[in-house]
Each structure stands twice: as structure tokens, then as C-alpha cells.
């Protein structure tokens, strides 16, 4: 197990290095380069030259790249041009909101999606199956931000069941411990704050869950259908094993393997979706910050975010691989 983790961590290095080269090249390709990003479009040539010298942009490219890498290792991602604060601090401040939202969304997707996909496969052709399949098709085809708007318009603005924006209501004075609003309330015993945070989480999480949910339903269904036709399932059934045992140990355990991989691969689209949902619900996480950074052309933030996301993505997929090998002994042997 340790060897697997170590090997996967080593494989990370070339990936991240490659990404950093791409990002570095990208930064250099930006219209007018970093100088005009700092000075704005109306900078004179003398000013640009001065900034270029100050930033070391007149040095050879590989020297610049070396400095870029060094700064990344020191977690120095530059300062946001919008807020004037270090990018790293802006991220750590907003990270909990996005994690909370993403975890809630993926939890909804798994808790609803796996049973739905499983029963759709078991009762192939039934109304449940038809609903699950067409529902998941629709889930993929609805633009996330439109779904978010619809949910907000219907359940927040018109019906008033859920709050329409933010993470906590204004009247609630919650103590901040971890930054995760739901968890903080539980830790400090402020259950009203926790409940308020949960209510704020429902709509954005449902909107964000739409694509992962659709993918998980389809994956689970296809995978269960395949496993149900396998010889070992028939063998298990014909030797008189209890049906529940066959379903849990033979069908589900094997069918869930590709689903687990899919969950890992969904991280990227989840974070894309977070940018869209968070801005519809003014959720105050990284996603919303990225949205304003796009408007403001805040490149240090965008570069930092891309690096950050790549790291998160790779780490989550590492976790998925480990989880995979825990469930599937065949992987461990190889």
C-alpha cells in the first residue's frame, strides 16, 4: 500500500512540472505580458520596460522559470490585483466554503446516484429505470448556472423555503473555528448556526450535484448491468447463496469500482461547476472569487487557482486509487 502511494506521489512530479511549464508559458503569452496586466492597457513603453526590469522579465526565460518555480515552492503565488492580499491567504480564507459545497454536492450525488443507478439496473425497463436514465440525460444537458438560477428563483425567491444567497443569515453570530460553517456550529454547540448553514447549502449543493449525479447514475447503472451478467454472479446464485449476500458482495462490490474512479475524475468538473454555482448564490468561496477574478483579469489569482486545482485533482485521484486498491484486492497484487 505504502509503495503504491509512494509511486503515485512520484508520478505526480512530472505532471506538476509539466503543468508549471504550461502555466509559465501562458503567463508570458498574456497580451502585453505581466507588465501591462499590472499597469493597465495605457502604459507607456518606458514604464513597461521599468516594470519588466523590476520583475526580472529582461532575463533569460529559464532564469525566470526557475524563479517562478522557487516562488511556488515557497507558496508565494503573488498578490491579488483586486484585493492587494497574498493569493495564498485569499485561498485559505475561501477554501472551506468551496470544500463544504463540493463535499455536500458529491455526497448528494453518491447517496442518491448509487442506489438510483443500482435499482434502475435491477429493474431494467421499469418506470424507475426510464426516469433515472432520462433524468440523468437532462442533468448533463442543463447548463449548471441555469439550473442554479431556476432553483434560486423557485425555492428561494418565490417559495422562500431556502435562503437565496450567502453561507449564513445576517442575524446569526457564529463563532469561527475551522471556517466550515456547518462543522463550526456543531463544534461550538451553536446548533442554530449549523442549521442555518445547512439551509444555505441545500440549493447550491443540489445545483452543483446535477452533473456528478447524472454521471454516477449512468455509471452505476451500466456497471451493475454488466456485473449482473457475469458468470460469478450466476455461480453464486446457483450455489444457493443468500440473495442479499450476492448483491452486496458480488454485484455491488464489483459494480462500484468504475464508479469510484468516476468520482475522482469528477473533481475537475465539480470545481468548474463551483465557479458557476457559487457566483449565482454569492456563496463566498473560491469559485465566486474566481468569477470576479476573471472579470478583473486578476492573473496571479487565476494562475494560483489553476495550480491549486491541479494539485487537488491529482491528490484526490491518488486517494481514489488507494480506495480502489482497498476494495479491489486484484489491484493490490499487481
Amino acid at each position: 500500500m505504502l509503495r503504491l502511494v509512494a509511486r503515485r506521489l512520484l508520478q505526480l512530479i512530472p505532471t506538476l512540472l509539466g503543468l508549471s511549464v504550461l502555466l509559465f508559458l501562458w503567463l508570458n503569452r498574456l497580451p502585453g505580458g505581466p507588465a501591462s496586466a499590472i499597469l493597465g492597457e495605457r502604459a507607456t513603453e518606458a514604464e513597461v520596460a521599468r516594470i519588466n526590469r523590476a520583475l526580472g522579465l529582461d532575463e533569460p526565460v529559464w532564469v525566470q522559470y526557475g524563479r517562478f518555480i522557487k516562488r511556488i515552492f515557497q507558496l508565494d503565488l503573488g498578490t491579488s490585483t483586486q484585493t492587494g492580499q497574498p493569493v495564498w491567504e485569499e485561498f485559505t480564507l475561501r477554501f472551506p466554503a468551496t470544500v463544504e459545497l463540493s463535499v455536500a454536492a458529491i455526497a448528494i450525488a453518491i447517496v442518491v446516484g448509487v442506489p438510483l443507478g443500482y435499482f434502475a439496473a435491477r429493474r431494467r425497463g421499469s418506470w424507475l429505470d426510464v426516469t433515472a436514465v432520462s433524468g440523468s440525460l437532462l442533468g448533463i444537458c442543463i447548463p449548471v448556472f441555469f439550473l442554479a438560477l431556476l432553483l434560486k428563483g423557485l425555492f428561494a425567491v418565490n417559495l422562500g423555503i431556502f435562503p437565496s444567497f450567502g453561507r449564513l443569515s445576517t442575524g446569526i453570530d457564529a463563532t469561527k473555528v475551522t471556517g466550515f460553517a456547518v462543522l463550526d456550529g456543531l463544534l461550538t454547540g451553536e446548533f442554530d448556526a449549523s442549521w442555518d448553514a445547512v439551509m444555505h447549502l441545500v440549493l447550491p449543493a443540489v445545483a452543483l450535484a446535477s452533473i456528478p449525479l447524472a454521471v454516477i447514475v449512468r455509471m452505476t447503472r451500466a456497471s451493475v448491468l454488466e456485473v449482473l451478467g457475469e458468470d460469478y454472479v450466476r455461480t453464486a446464485e446457483s450455489k444457493g447463496l443468500d440473495k442479499r449476500v450476492v448483491r452486496a458482495r458480488h454485484v455491488l462490490r464489483n459494480a462500484l469500482l468504475p464508479v469510484i474512479t468516476a468520482v475522482g475524475l469528477l473533481t475537475g468538473s465539480l470545481l468548474s461547476g463551483a465557479v458557476l454555482t457559487e457566483s449565482v448564490f454569492s456563496f463566498g468561496g473560491i469559485g465566486q472569487f474566481i468569477r470576479t477574478s476573471i472579470d478583473a483579469r486578476d492573473y496571479p489569482v487565476l494562475v494560483g487557482f489553476i495550480l491549486f486545482i491541479a494539485l487537488v485533482y491529482v491528490l484526490i485521484n491518488l486517494l481514489v486509487d488507494v480506495a480502489y486498491s482497498l476494495i479491489d484486492p486484484r489491484v493490490r497484487v499487481h
Partner: protein, 323 residues
């Protein structure tokens, strides 16, 4: 009617037998594609998807001539006050009502279909062509290039994996940042996102073909490697790519709408496009939800059409499902 039940049963049996025989007749000599097409014609999913796409393409072609009014003329400007929340809904003159600048929404939907189709098709083609070239090189190197080929394949795949790891939206934002804001940017940005998908798919498919008997036979006969790749492996590896191309049209249209929502869309207000229309209308969602619903439904239905057809094609081409 006057046939006895026994005879009826017999007739049914013969009918079924004929069906079965007809089936073997067509499948025995027919290629993968002909067989797939035959299956497509009987698939409900494919028919629904095909009809939706057909209508969409038709509207994209003739829409501008069907539109009752100019999509850009603000003919009813004096009737719409977005700041006060006053909008005009559907009425006799304007079937879909007016947009926030007093333009006829129905005409804009009709004219906008063309631009939406264009964005979808061009971005898909960008992803397809670039991805296919990369995937073909990688796949050819891995199957026939020996040790150095395998190494080249690893390098190429690592690079595409990096791009695959990035959230598509951010990748698109990065491209848009370099190229500036325009319709071309949107198409390139959405296309770039698809490149690693197509590359991985074609390579994977070529690898699967590379170990098959006919490639081995071709190698044994001494056919040149380039020729094996171009005439043997490639044509047999294309079907998943074509399926993906259909599915990509759906994602491209949705992705373009998301880019518009993020303010990176086509800045030219003269050309209506559903994604841009949706992102403009969403600001007035609380007062005039229907203004968002029209373009949104357009996008969803079109995306559904492409997805349905793509799924049906995937099923039709799946050798596991062939009779």
C-alpha cells in the same frame, strides 16, 4: 381474421424466421458501419435525437428568413424598462415577448440558432482535428514504434493528462485571456478543452486495434508501417471518435453558454447566440424568467438531441451488443 389460432401461430413463426434470416443476410457481408446504421434506424433514441438535430439545423439554415422582425432592431424600446422591472411577455405581435432592449425575442431565437450551431460545430472540429492528430501520432507510436515509440507515447499522454486534469472552464478562461474576447476565442477555448478527450480516445482505440490479428497479418506480410496505420488501424479506430464528436457538440454548446455567463462570450451584440442571450437574460431572471427560459430550453433541447444520437450511436457501434 378467419385463420385458426394454430395457423396464426405458424405464420408468426415463419415471420420471425424470415426476420432472423434477413438479419443474418445483412450482417454477414455488411461492415460495422452498415450494421450500425441499420441498428440506428430502429433505435427510438436515435430517431428522437436525429429529429431534434434535424429541426435545429433547419432552423439554423432558414431561421434568418423565417424571423418576422430584425433580431437587432430595438423596435419596442419604449415599452421595456429593465431598471423598473417592466418587461413585455408573449403577445400577438411578439410570440416570445421582448428582450431587455425591446427586441423581438422570437426573431432572436430563430436567428440565434445559426450562431449556436456554428459555435458547437467549429469548437467540436477544433477539438476533433487537433485531438485526432495527437491521438493518432501517440497511438501509432505506441503500436508500431517499438521502444522509442512507447516513450513518445508516454510523453504525449502525460501532457494531455495535464490538460485533462484542468477544469474545462478554467482552461477556456486561460485561452480567452491570451486571445482576447471574441467569438473565435470562445470556439477555440471550448475546442481546446476537447483536445485531450479526442486524443485519449483515438489512442486507446488504436492500441486496441494494434494488437489485433489483421494488424499482425499486415505486419507479417511486410506492409509499410505508415500504411498499416493509415489504411488498417485508423479506419477501424474511428468509431468511438465519431460518437464522441456527436456528444461533444452537446458539451460545446453548453460550455459556450457557461463562458458567456462568465463574461467571456461573444461581445458583439449584433449577432444573437443562445448562450449569450441566456447570460444576458439571467440578470433579469427574477422579473422576467421567460426571457432566460427560451434560450435555455433551446440549448437544453439541442444538447439533448446530440446526446441522444451520440448515445444511440455508441450503442449501435458497440460490438458487444451486436447480434
Amino acid at each position: 381474421m378467419n385463420a385458426t389460432p394454430g395457423l396464426q401461430k405458424k405464420a408468426d413463426k415463419i415471420d420471425r424466421l424470415a426476420q432472423l434470416m434477413e438479419r443474418t443476410e445483412t450482417t454477414s457481408g455488411a461492415g460495422l458501419w452498415r450494421e450500425a446504421f441499420r441498428r440506428l434506424r430502429t433505435s427510438k433514441t436515435a430517431i428522437i435525437g436525429g429529429v431534434v438535430i434535424g429541426v435545429f439545423v433547419l432552423v439554423a439554415i432558414v431561421g434568418p428568413w423565417l424571423a418576422p422582425y430584425s433580431p437587432t432592431a430595438q423596435d419596442w424600446r419604449g415599452e421595456v424598462f429593465p431598471n423598473q422591472g417592466r418587461f413585455v411577455g408573449p403577445r400577438g405581435e411578439n410570440w416570445f415577448g421582448l428582450d431587455h432592449l425591446g427586441r423581438d425575442e422570437f426573431s432572436r431565437m430563430l436567428v440565434g440558432a445559426r450562431q449556436t450551431l456554428l459555435v458547437g460545430v467549429v469548437s467540436m472540429l477544433i477539438g476533433l482535428v487537433a485531438g485526432a492528430v495527437i491521438g493518432a501520432v501517440s497511438g501509432a507510436a505506441a503500436t508500431l514504434g517499438g521502444e522509442p515509440g512507447k516513450r513518445l507515447d508516454t510523453v504525449i499522454m502525460r501532457v494531455t493528462d495535464i490538460i485533462l486534469a484542468l477544469p474545462s472552464l478554467l482552461l477556456a478562461v486561460s485561452v480567452a485571456a491570451v486571445l482576447g474576447q471574441s467569438l473565435t476565442t470562445v470556439m477555440i477555448a471550448v475546442g481546446v478543452v476537447q483536445v485531450p478527450v479526442f486524443a485519449r480516445l483515438l489512442r486507446g482505440s488504436m492500441l486496441a486495434q494494434g494488437s489485433s490479428d489483421y494488424v499482425l497479418a499486415a505486419k507479417a506480410v511486410g506492409i509499410r508501417k505508415r500504411r498499416i496505420v493509415l489504411t488498417q488501424i485508423m479506419p477501424n479506430s474511428l468509431s468511438p471518435v465519431i460518437v464522441q464528436a456527436t456528444l461533444s457538440l452537446a458539451t460545446a454548446i453548453i460550455e459556450a453558454a457557461a463562458l458567456s455567463y462568465l463574461g467571456l462570450g461573444n461581445p458583439d451584440p449584433a449577432i444573437p447566440e443562445w448562450g449569450v442571450m441566456l447570460s444576458q437574460a439571467q440578470r433579469f431572471f427574477d422579473n422576467a424568467p421567460m426571457m432566460s427560459v427560451y434560450p435555455a430550453v433551446g440549448i437544453i433541447v439541442t444538447a439533448l438531441g446530440f446526446t441522444l444520437l451520440g448515445e444511440a450511436m455508441r450503442e449501435a457501434l458497440d460490438p458487444k451488443l451486436r447480434g
